[in-house]
């Protein structure tokens, strides 16, 4: 993670405000019940075995194909919005892809490609929702 600062608000007031904001970067102890809740879930959420490198790219590839389908569906000149029998299946597929991408992001939280794809799936779903309500 690159920590370089490069903003353009450079007046004295801004500098003071930035110093005050930076001072807010403090650790905060979570209440004990947070660990209790985590500990209670450890068994059900077993650690994943060492991943094969091919796992999350496969999830990404599947998502790309589904996103392409959804993008085609969202084109207004090609598809009328109402009563399309593929709509529910498309929503299901997008939700499944979003889940897969979140799981993949848990494995590779620094991946800009996965983040970008998750944003794309979210945006496509919103577009479909808007179009479906028209």
């Amino acid at each position: 993670m690159n920590m370089r600062h490069d903003d353009t608000d450079r007046d004295a007031g801004s500098a003071v405000l930035r110093m005050q904001l930076r001072a807010l970067r403090t650790d905060i102890d979570p209440p004990p019940q947070v660990w209790d809740a985590v500990a209670a879930r450890l068994d059900e959420a077993a650690p994943a075995p060492p991943r094969r490198r091919a796992q999350w790219p496969l999830a990404l590839a599947a998502t790309l194909s589904c996103a392409a389908l959804a993008g085609w569906w969202a084109l207004p000149q090609l598809r009328p919005a109402a009563a399309d029998p593929t709509l529910a299946a498309t929503f299901d597929a997008l939700d499944r892809d979003a889940r897969d991408l979140r799981a993949a992001l848990a494995q590779a939280p620094d991946s800009p490609l996965l983040l970008h794809q998750l944003h794309r799936v979210d945006a496509l779903r919103r577009t479909l929702e808007q179009r479906a309500t028209l």
Partner: protein, 195 residues
């Protein structure tokens, strides 16, 4: 210590042995050692909870739930940490992603305004040890719109670059800068309101 009990504060080992110690703990936890994971939790939970509290705009159930989720994700993903960055950096990024995903999901839930819950909790913890100015600033940050708040928290408090923020939030660098400018303007206006 059995992992079922809330871990007490754990001293961080000296720098020289910290990395090897941490790697050993992560390896043990990745193989299912709950006690090792408990040590990692008590070592890193305050930093993780801190950034989540700031991103969601305050302490409360939502921040606690997200801290819990972040550590569950970490538990499930420990094998994915390959030591390319420090474990603390990896976990911090995972926690930020967890909070940002929740912010995105909240945008799609018109019936939910999680910020109200967060705002109610402001000023109810540790008030005696913090100055009025700090509380005002925290409160003002918490009242920012979620996306603007996320950019301001990541840039001005956590020290991220606009490039990294753009990737995390799915926005262009220019949009991140614009959101930061907006957030600072709103922040100043709110602080003047408290004066």
């Amino acid at each position: 210590m059995p992992a079922a009990f809330a871990p007490a504060a754990a001293p961080v080992p000296p720098d020289g042995e910290a990395q090897a110690n941490e790697r050993a703990l992560v390896r043990a936890a990745a193989s299912g050692d709950r006690d090792a994971f408990a040590v990692l939790y008590r070592r890193h939970a305050p930093r993780v909870h801190g950034v989540i509290v700031r991103l969601v705009g305050g302490r409360g159930v939502r921040a606690e739930d997200l801290t819990q989720e972040a550590f569950i994700h970490a538990w499930q993903s420990l094998a994915g940490w390959r030591g390319e960055s420090s474990f603390a950096t990896w976990l911090h990024r995972l926690a930020v992603n967890t909070a940002l995903m929740d912010l995105r999901a909240a945008r799609a839930r018109p019936d939910r305004d999680g910020d109200d819950d967060a705002l109610d909790s402001l000023g109810t913890h540790d008030s005696a040890t913090r100055t009025g100015d700090t509380l005002d600033l925290e409160r003002a940050v918490a009242t920012l719109p979620p996306r603007a708040r996320a950019v301001l928290v990541l840039f001005d408090i956590e020290g991220w670059t606009h490039d990294a923020i753009g990737e995390a939030l799915g926005m262009a660098v220019g949009s991140s800068k614009a959101q930061l400018h907006r957030a600072r303007g709103l922040l100043r206006a709110r602080l003047e309101g408290y004066a």
